[in-house]
Symmetry: C2
Subunit: 405 residues, 2 copies
Amino acid sequence: MTQTRTTRLERGRSALGPALELVHTGRAPTRAVLTSELGVTRATAGAVAAELEALGLITVDSRPHASAGSQGRPSHRLFVNEDGPVVLAAQIHADGYRAALVGLGGRIVATTPSCGIIPADPAQVLAEVVEAGAALLRETGRRCLGAGLAVPSAVAEPDGEALNPLHLAWPSGAPVRELFLRALAEAGIPGVTEKIGFTGNDVNLGALAEHRHGAGRGARHLLCVASGHRGVGGALVLDGRLHSGSSGLALEVGHLTVHPEGAPCHCGSRGCLDVEADPLAFLVAAGREPGPEVSLLHQAVELLRNEYSEPGVRTAADLLIDRLGLGLAGLVNILNPDRIILGGLHRALLEADPERLRAVVADRSLWGRSGGVPILPCSLDHNSLVGAAELGWQPVLNDPLVVLD
Amino acid sequence: MTQTRTTRLERGRSALGPALELVHTGRAPTRAVLTSELGVTRATAGAVAAELEALGLITVDSRPHASAGSQGRPSHRLFVNEDGPVVLAAQIHADGYRAALVGLGGRIVATTPSCGIIPADPAQVLAEVVEAGAALLRETGRRCLGAGLAVPSAVAEPDGEALNPLHLAWPSGAPVRELFLRALAEAGIPGVTEKIGFTGNDVNLGALAEHRHGAGRGARHLLCVASGHRGVGGALVLDGRLHSGSSGLALEVGHLTVHPEGAPCHCGSRGCLDVEADPLAFLVAAGREPGPEVSLLHQAVELLRNEYSEPGVRTAADLLIDRLGLGLAGLVNILNPDRIILGGLHRALLEADPERLRAVVADRSLWGRSGGVPILPCSLDHNSLVGAAELGWQPVLNDPLVVLD
DNA sequence: CTGGCTTTGTGCCGACGCTAAACAAAATAC
DNA sequence: GTATTTTGTTTAGCGTCGGCACAAAGCCAG
C-alpha cells in the first residue's frame, strides 16, 4: 500500500491519459520509459503512475527483479491491473455472436461461447448478446466501465447504422449503435451514456486491436485486409487512429479490380477482389463444392491447411495469392503503409506461401522501397472482440479520472 | 500601439500556435470566434491575440465596422499582418521554375516570372531559384522566416529525395531537400536550419494549400487529383494533415486500372489512369498531334476550352471523364473523402461537364452516400507554390515564439 | 568490502498557462 | 432611456508540470 502520493492531480487534461495508453499498449513497462515517452520529468511520471495506481488501473511491482544487465538502479515495473475494471465487448459475425469482458491491455477476462444462430431482428440479437455480457459481469463481479460492439458490415457515421450486412439477415441501415446503447441501458450496464464510438466494423476494430496489442504494434501506417465469410474487408490505422472515412465507409477494398476478365460482381464491374479472393472463390477454384454445415471461411482454411499438397489446391492458392497481391499492391500505391496485416483466409494464404505473396506485392507496387512493406499474419485471437473493447476503453484512455464517475 | 499586454506568455506549448493557425486559415475573424474554436475563455483568447499582435504576426482592427446585424457588442476583427514576415517559396515544374514570397494567409507578396528552362543539374536549378527568391527579399526588404520547395515528383521520406522526376532531366533519387537547404544556406536565407519538411511533391503541397486557403477549407478528409504535364498525381489531407505515407509515396494514383483493355503503361499493366487520363491521352483521343512548342497541359486545356463544341473533342472529353470517374470512384471506395478537388487537365474536364463526372463517380462508388461526395475545381492560383510556403510556415504555426529567434 | 558511477524514484518550490468571475464597453431591442 | 446581449479586460487564483536537490539501488573498479 503506497499512500505516499503528494502531488494531487485533479481532473482536467493532463498526462494521465497518454500515460495510461502507454501502459495499456505495453509501451511503458517502467516509470523511466514513461518519462521519455511522455516527454515529461521523472517527477511528473512518478506522480502520474501513482495516480493511476490509486485509481486501480495499474499496478506497480516495487520488488527488485532480475534486471536486464544495464547498470544503474533497476526500474520498478508497471502493469495494467489484472483485477481491475473491464469493458463489455460484443461481436456479431457470420457464425454467431459472442460477448466478453476485456481488461486493460486487451486481455480477455471472460468470454461466452459463440452462439451459432443469428436472429433476423437486430434488436433481439443485441439484447441477447448484451444480456450474455451482463451475465458475465454478474458471475465475475467485475466493475464495468464501458462497452463496444463489432459488426460484420460497414457502419455509417455519424449515426452508426449497419450498411449492407450481407452475412446477416439484417436490413441495410439497421441502427445498430442506437439499438446497442438501448440494450445496454436496459441491462443496466453503466458507462455508456455518450453517443460517440461504441460500434464499428469488425475488420476496422480488428485492425485497431492488432495495432495496439498485436502484430501491428509500433506501425505508423497500418493496413489490414481480411476475408471472412464472403467478401473482403480492409482497415487503416494512421498514427494510432482508425481512419474510417468521412462517413465510415473507407477501406471498402472489395471492389478493387484484380482480374479484368474475371467473374461479374454485384457492384456491376468484373473481377473485383470481393469475388476473386474470398473463401467461396478459393473453394470454387480448388474444385470443391462448398457445404452448408460450417462457414465458408472454415471450409476454405481447413482445405488450405490440410490439403495444400494436392496440386489443385496448390494451384487455387497460387491463383488467389496472385489476385490478392495485385489488390494489395494497388493499396500500397495509394496508402504507402509501413506494415500490412492479413486476417481470415488471407492470413492462411500468406502462411501457405509467404514469399509468393510478398513477391507479387513488391513486383506490382511502384518502387522497391514501397514494395518492401512487411506483410504479417494477424496475431490476436478474437481481434475484433478486443477492438470492440478498445471503443469502450477510449473514454478512460482520454481521461482516466472518469473512473471516479 | 496597444501596449496593454498584462499576461506575459512565455515560450512553450500554449494556445499561440493553434490561434495563429486559425487566423492564418481564415477561420478566426474575431476574438470571439477564437474563443469558441480554441475552447478557451475570452481572457485567454484576448491574451493570445495580443501576444500575436505584439509579435507582428497579426493585426487587430479595433474600429467599429458595419456589423452583421446581430446584437451585442461588435467584435474587433483579426487579420494576418499584410506587412509582416514572409517565407520563401519555390516551385519546379515541367515548364520552368518560379520563386515567390508568401505571407501568412497564403497571400503571394511577390513572385518572379516563371523561368522556362530547367537545367539537368538539380543543384544548379535550386541555386538559381533560391537566388531569385533572395533577390525578391532584397527588393522588398521583407523579413524571411522560412522556406519551402515543391517538386513534380514523389519525394521519399525521411531524406527528401526526388524519385522518378519524369518531367525533368533529373536523376531519380536526387537529394533535393539537402540541395535546397544547402542553396538556402549559401544565399544566407535564415530560418531553415531544421532538417524536416521544407520539400514536398507539388500535388501534395497544392492539396495542402487548397485545404488551408482554397476550395478545400473545412473538409475533414480531402482528396486532390491533378494531371500536369504527364501522368496523374494525387494527394490526401486528413484532419488537416497531409498523408504522404510512411515513405512519402502515398497517393500514387496513376496506376489505378481504369480501362482493362487500355494502352500499356510503363508499370507493366494496361489502362492505368496515368496513360488514360493525362493531357497526352486527351490530345491523342481528340485526334490532335501534340506540338512541342508549349506544354501538353496547356495544349490540352486550350483545346478543351476553345473547341469543346467539336464532336471529336467532345467525344474525347467524355471518354476521359469516364476514365477519370472510374479512378475517382475507386479512390472514394478506399478513402471515403468528404470532398474532392481537381487540378490541371482534370479541373478543365470537370468544368467542361460537371454532371457527367459526378454521375460516373456516384454510379461506380458504393452506396450513394459515399458517391455523393462534392467534386470541385481547385481555387488557388499557384497552389503548389502556396503549399510550399506552408512548409516554411509550419514551424511558426507550431510555436509562434520562434519569431523571436 | 569500499568508494565511485550510473540510473531511477521522490519531495519541494516556483513558474507558466489557463480558468473563473467581476467589471467595463459597445452595440441592439423595446 | 433602460434592459439585454455580446465582446473585451482585469484580477485573483489554481492546476500541472519543470527544475533541482537528494535519496535509493544496482553495477564496476580497486
